[in-house]
C-alpha cells in the first residue's frame, strides 16, 4: 500500500535512488548500511553510518532556511510509559522505525506520522536494569527490525508486521544483565554488547547471524576469559582475551571484572574493525584490584569476522571514579602535512578527548574537553596514559576500619562523566567534533555504615555538584587537530541527548528543558529553537523524502540523570515526562 502511493509521487531523487537500488521497499543490505552516511533518502543505522559520525550531506535545511522549519507531524508513544526516550529513529522507504522506553518498537508512516504497528516486549518481574527503562534504537537488516530488550534478549521483528521472526536470550537478566544500546549490523552479523557492570558480571561482545539469530562468536572484554566462535553450530575455543589471566588484575579479581560494553559500538570498513567501549571495572573499590584491569574503561577493536581483539586503548587504568570508557569511538580522516591520517576520536567520561590511529590504536593526541579535571594532571604525550594525582583518588576503605565515614575527595568530572552515553557528531566540512558535555564534580567518600541485602557493607557515598553557577550542560565545538575549543553553548540542565550535524552548517541536539536546538556549526549561534514539551534525550536524524529534507527527534525526559540528582537536582526537578516523536520540515 505504501508502495502504491509512493510510486505516484516519485521525485527525481527517488528515481535516482530507485535506479541504484533496483526497487522501492527493498530489503536493507550490507551495502545500504555501509553507505548509509551518503545515502540521504534513508537512515538505516545507528549513528547515520557505522562510523557513527552523525553527519548528513543534506543542506536544504541550512543556516538560512532553518528558522522556517515547522513540525510536519508529532507521534505519541502513548500509554502510561511516559519516560526515558533515548532512541534514534531509523527511516527506510517512507517508514520510520523507533524504539521506545520499556522495550517497545514502533513503525510509523514517515509522511503522515500514522502508526503502522507496535511491538511491546513482555518484561518479566524483577528485572533490575541499572539506569532507567531506556532503549537507544533499532537496527535494520533484510526485512527485519532488530533490537535489544531490558531483559537482555535480541528480538527481530518483521518490518511490515512487527511480528517476531526470531528471539535470542543474550544473557540472564537475573544475573543483572540488560541491553539498552542499539545493535549494529556488520557483514550480515548483528553485533551487541550487554549492560550490567555494577553486579560483578563479565562484559562480552557477541555476533549473531542477522537472518536467524544463530550465535557466531562471543568475545569477553575482561582479560583472562576465553572467547568462543561457533563453527557449523559447534562452540569452539577462540583464544583467551588478553592471552592469559592475572596480568593486570590481582588474585582472581578478573573473574568478576565488569567492563560491560553497554553503549554499543561503531565500525570502520577501511580497517575492517569494530570499536566497542567498555565500562568501569568491578568492584568499585579500586584498591582491591591494583593493576590496570584490562580491558575495563577501554576502547577495544575487534575483528568482525573472527571476534578477536586487534588492539585496545585504555582511557582510565585502575578506575576508581566510575569513569566507564563507553563513549563511542568515531572514525574520521584528516590531512596533516599533505598526508591523510586514518584517525578515530572519542570524548571520555574521564574528561579527556582522545585522537587515536584507528588501524592500531596508537595514541596521536589527547586534551581535556571539560573545564575541570582533578584526578589527572594530563596525559602522557607518547602513550596517552593519564598522569594521576594520587591524593585525589578516592580513599582506601581499609583506612576507615573504625566504622567512621572516610575523608571526602573532590573529583571532577563526576561519575556521570564529562560526557556520558550521548553520542557526539563530526562534521567533515567544519572539521569539528560537537561534544555534548557536562561540567559536574562530586565529593566521594567511604561509607562503612551501609548495608547490602541485610549485610553490613562498605559503600561509596557521593554528592554531585555543578562546577559553574549558571549551567551544567555544555555543547562544545572541538578541533581534533589542535584540541582548541572553537565555541560553546551553555545549558542549565545536564545534556543527555545525541548530536547531529549537517552540510547545511547546522548542529542539532536536544535539552532536558525540552528544546530541539539548531546551532550554526561554525559559530555556535542559535538558529532554531523548538520546545517539544518534555526533555529531549534522544538523538536527532535527518533524511530526504519526496524532495524535502526532514528532521526528527524523540522527546521524553528520563534516563540516568533524574535517578541521581543531588544539588544538580534543582536544575531538573521541574521537568515533565513525555514520549513523542517530533518531525520537522520546511514549508513548501
Amino acid at each position: 500500500m505504501i508502495k502504491m502511493t509512493k510510486t505516484k509521487v516519485l521525485s527525481l531523487s527517488m528515481m535516482v535512488s530507485l535506479a541504484i537500488s533496483g526497487m522501492a521497499n527493498a530489503n536493507v543490505t550490507n551495502k545500504d548500511i555501509l553507505n548509509d552516511q551518503m545515502t540521504t533518502e534513508d537512515v538505516v543505522s545507528y549513528g547515520l553510518g557505522l562510523k557513527g559520525q552523525r553527519y548528513s550531506p543534506l543542506k536544504k535545511i541550512n543556516t538560512d532556511t532553518v528558522k522556517d522549519m515547522r513540525t510536519a507531524w508529532v507521534f505519541s508513544l502513548g500509554g502510561e510509559k511516559q519516560r526515558g526516550q533515548e532512541s534514534q529513529p531509523l527511516v527506510k522507504d517512507g517508514v520510520m522505525y523507533i524504539s521506545g522506553s520499556y522495550s517497545r518498537v514502533f513503525a510509523i508512516d514517515a509522511r503522515t506520522g500514522d502508526e503502522l504497528w507496535q511491538y511491546d516486549a513482555r518484561l518479566p518481574d524483577g528485572i533490575m536494569p541499572c539506569c532507567d527503562v531506556i532503549n537507544r534504537g533499532v537496527a535494520l537488516y533484510g526485512d527485519l527490525v532488530i533490537f535489544g530488550t531490558l531483559d537482555a534478549k535480541l528480538v527481530a521483528l518483521h518490518k511490515d508486521t512487527g511480528k517476531v521472526v526470531w528471539k535470542k536470550k543474550v544473557e540472564d537478566y537475573k544475573a543483572g544483565y540488560s541491553i539498552t544500546a542499539a545493535p549494529m549490523v556488520v557483514k550480515g552479523k548483528v553485533i551487541t554488547g550487554v549492560a550490567g557492570g555494577e553486579f560483578g558480571v563479565v562484559g562480552k561482545v557477541r555476533a549473531y547471524d542477522a537472518k536467524n539469530g544463530d550465535i557466531i562468536w562471543e568475545r569477553p572484554t575482561v582479560e583472562g576469559h576465553m572467547g568462543y566462535i561457533w563453527k557449523n553450530g559447534k562452540k569452539t575455543e577462540n583464544g583467551i582475551s588478553g592471552g592469559k589471566a592475572g596480568q593486570t588484575w590481582p588474585g582472581d579479581s578478573w573473574k568478576h571484572g565488569g567492563a560491560a560494553p553497554w553503549n554499543g559500538g561503531t565500525y570502520d570498513a577501511d580497517v575492517d574493525l569494530l570499536f566497542f567501549g567498555t565500562s568501569n571495572p568491578a568492584p568499585w573499590n579500586s584498591h582491591l584490584r591494583l593493576g590496570d584491569n584490562y580491558f575495563s574503561a577501554s576502547r577495544v577493536a575487534i575483528d568482525p569476522d573472527t571476534g578477536k581483539i586487534a588492539w585496545h586503548f585504555q582511557t582510565t587504568p585502575n578506575d576508581g571514579w566510575d569513569y566507564d570508557g563507553i563513549s563511542e569511538l568515531i572514525s574520521f580522516d584528516y590531512k596533516q602535512n599533505g598526508k591523510t591520517v586514518k584517525a578515530a576520536a572519542t570524548a571520555d567520561k574521564n574528561g579527556f578527548f582522545y585522537v587515536l590511529n584507528r588501524k592500531n590504536g596508537d595514541f596521536i593526541r589527547g586534551f581535556p574537553f571539560v573545564d575541570k579535571i582533578t584526578w589527572a594532571s594530563g596525559l602522557d604525550k607518547k602513550t596517552g596514559s593519564p598522569i594521576y594525582i594520587d591524593e585525589n583518588r578516592p580513599g582506601d576503605p581499609a583506612d576507615s576500619k573504625d566504622g567512621k565515614k572516610g575523608t571526602a575527595v573532590l573529583a571532577a568530572p563526576s561519575f556521570l562523566g564529562g560526557k556520558n552515553w550521548m553520542p557526539m557528531a563530526y562534521n567533515k566540512d567544519t572539521e569539528l567534533f560537537y561534544v555534548p558535555a557536562n561540567e559536574m564534580e562530586m565529593d566521594i567518600w567511604n561509607e562503612p555504615g551501609s548495608y547490602k541485602k541485610g549485610a553490613a557493607y562498605m559503600a561509596a557515598g557521593f554528592t554531585l555538584k555543578p562546577i559553574h553557577d549558571d549551567y551544567v550542560g555544555v555543547l562544545k565545538a572541538m578541533d581534533p587537530k589542535t584540541g582548541k575549543e572553537i565555541w560553546r553553548y551553555k545549558n542549565s540542565a545536564p545534556l543527555w541527548g545525541g548530536v547531529l550535524t549537517t552540510a547545511g552548517n547546522l548542529v542539532f541536539f536536544g535539552t532536558p528543558e525540552g528544546y530541539l536546538l539548531g546551532l550554526n556549526a561554525k559559530s555556535g549561534e542559535v538558529e532554531f529553537k523548538f520546545n517539544t514539551g518534555s526533555g529531549v534525550i534522544g538523538s536527532p536524524v535527518t533524511w530526504e523524502m519526496d524532495g524535502e529534507q526532514y528532521v526528527s527527534v524523540l522527546s521524553g525526559w528520563g534516563g540516568a540523570v533524574p535517578l541521581w540528582g543531588g544539588i544538580v537536582g534543582k536544575n531538573i526537578k521541574h521537568l515533565n515526562q513525555g514520549g513523542s516523536v517530533f518531525t520537522f520540515k520546511l514549508p513548501k
Binding site: 524483577g126 527503562v133 560483578g200 588474585g251 582491591l288 555504615g449 557521593f462 554528592t463
Partner: protein, 295 residues
C-alpha cells in the same frame, strides 16, 4: 450494548482494586479488610528466603507466615531482587516502587535495625529514610568463618589465611576485609564467588579451604554438608569496623499502627523462644538482639 457494558465495567473495577492493592503500601485497617498482607523478601537467599521445588522456604518465610497468621490474614510474598544497597531496596519495594512497575509491599523483612542508619541524612541534609519506619529487630547478625579441618588444623586467628585459600562473596565486607586488611597479606588467598553458596560448593570440592560470610548463612550451609570435617571458627576479626548488627523490618512511614501490631507479634516470638526455634529448624546460630535484654 448496555448488556455488554455492565460486565465490562465490573471487570474494570476489579482491575483497579487489584491495582490499588499493590501500587501503594496500605494501612493496618486496609490490610485487615483485604484479608491479605504483602511481605517483601529477598530472592534466592538461603537460609532466609528461597524456593525449593517452587515452595517458599526459609527463616524469613516462616516469620512472614507467623505474622500473617497472628494478623489473621493471608500471606502474599513479594520476591525481591536486591539492588545495590538496602536504601534502594526500600525505595523499590516499600515506598515508591521500582520504575519498571511501581508496585510495593506492606512490609519488608531483613532490614537493618540501627538508629544511626535509620536517621542518616543525604547530601542535601534530608533524612534518607524519611519514607520508611524501621522496627522490630529479630536477630543479630555477624561474620563467621567455616573451614575444612582436613586442610587447616585450626583457625586461631585470621593470619592462617596468608597460607590457605578462603572464599568470599564478591563485593562484600569479607572481600574488602580479607583483600585489604593487614596491608593485603591475605589478598592472594582470597577467592571471589558470586554467592556464599557457590563458595561453600567450592570448599566441598577442595577448591578453597575455608569460607567467610554471614554467620547465619555459614552455619546453615554447614548443616547441608554431609561430612563433619567443616568447622565453624571462633576467631576474631581485628581492625574490622562493624562486627555485628541487628536485623529487623520496615514499613512505610505513614502506617505506624501496622508497625505497633507487628512489633508486638515479633516481641512475643522472640521472648517466648519461637524465633530461636525457627532459626534452629534451619540449623542457624541464633543471637537475640540486645533490644530484648531484660534489665
Amino acid at each position: 450494548m448496555k448488556k455488554i457494558n455492565i460486565p465490562l465495567f465490573s471487570i474494570l473495577i476489579g482491575c483497579c482494586l487489584i491495582f490499588s492493592a499493590t501500587a501503594f503500601s496500605r494501612s493496618y485497617d486496609d490490610i485487615i479488610e483485604s484479608n491479605e498482607i504483602i511481605v517483601a523478601v529477598y530472592n534466592d537467599f538461603q537460609p532466609f528466603s528461597y524456593k525449593e521445588s517452587d515452595k517458599a522456604k526459609g527463616i524469613d518465610i516462616e516469620l512472614a507466615k507467623a505474622i500473617a497468621k497472628q494478623l489473621g490474614v493471608k500471606l502474599r510474598l513479594r520476591w525481591v531482587t536486591a539492588d545495590e544497597n538496602v536504601e534502594d531496596d526500600l525505595r523499590n519495594n516499600l515506598w515508591k516502587g521500582h520504575y519498571i512497575k511501581r508496585t510495593v509491599a506492606d512490609l519488608m523483612l531483613r532490614v537493618p535495625y540501627n538508629r544511626e542508619y535509620s536517621l542518616s541524612r543525604d547530601d542535601i541534609g534530608e533524612l534518607v529514610h524519611q519514607h520508611v519506619h524501621m522496627f522490630s529487630p529479630y536477630h543479630t547478625e555477624s561474620w563467621k568463618i567455616i573451614y575444612n579441618n582436613k586442610k587447616i588444623e585450626s583457625v586461631e586467628t585470621i593470619a592462617v589465611f596468608q597460607y590457605y585459600d578462603i572464599g568470599v562473596e564478591v563485593d562484600s565486607i569479607p572481600q574488602f576485609y580479607l583483600s585489604s586488611a593487614f596491608r593485603g597479606r591475605m589478598s592472594k588467598h582470597t577467592k571471589q564467588f558470586m554467592s556464599i553458596s557457590k563458595a561453600i560448593e567450592a570448599m566441598t570440592v577442595s577448591k578453597v579451604d575455608a569460607v567467610m560470610g554471614l554467620s547465619s548463612q555459614v552455619s546453615y550451609f554447614q548443616s547441608t554438608i554431609p561430612t563433619n570435617n567443616y568447622i565453624l571458627a571462633e576467631n576474631a576479626f581485628p581492625m574490622m569496623g562493624q562486627q555485628q548488627w541487628d536485623i529487623g523490618m520496615a514499613i512505610k512511614a505513614d502506617y505506624r499502627q501496622l508497625g505497633y501490631v507487628i512489633a508486638d507479634i515479633v516481641e512475643a516470638m522472640v521472648v517466648q523462644g519461637d524465633m530461636e526455634r525457627i532459626f534452629a529448624k534451619y540449623h542457624v546460630l541464633y543471637k537475640k538482639p540486645d533490644f530484648y535484654q531484660e534489665i
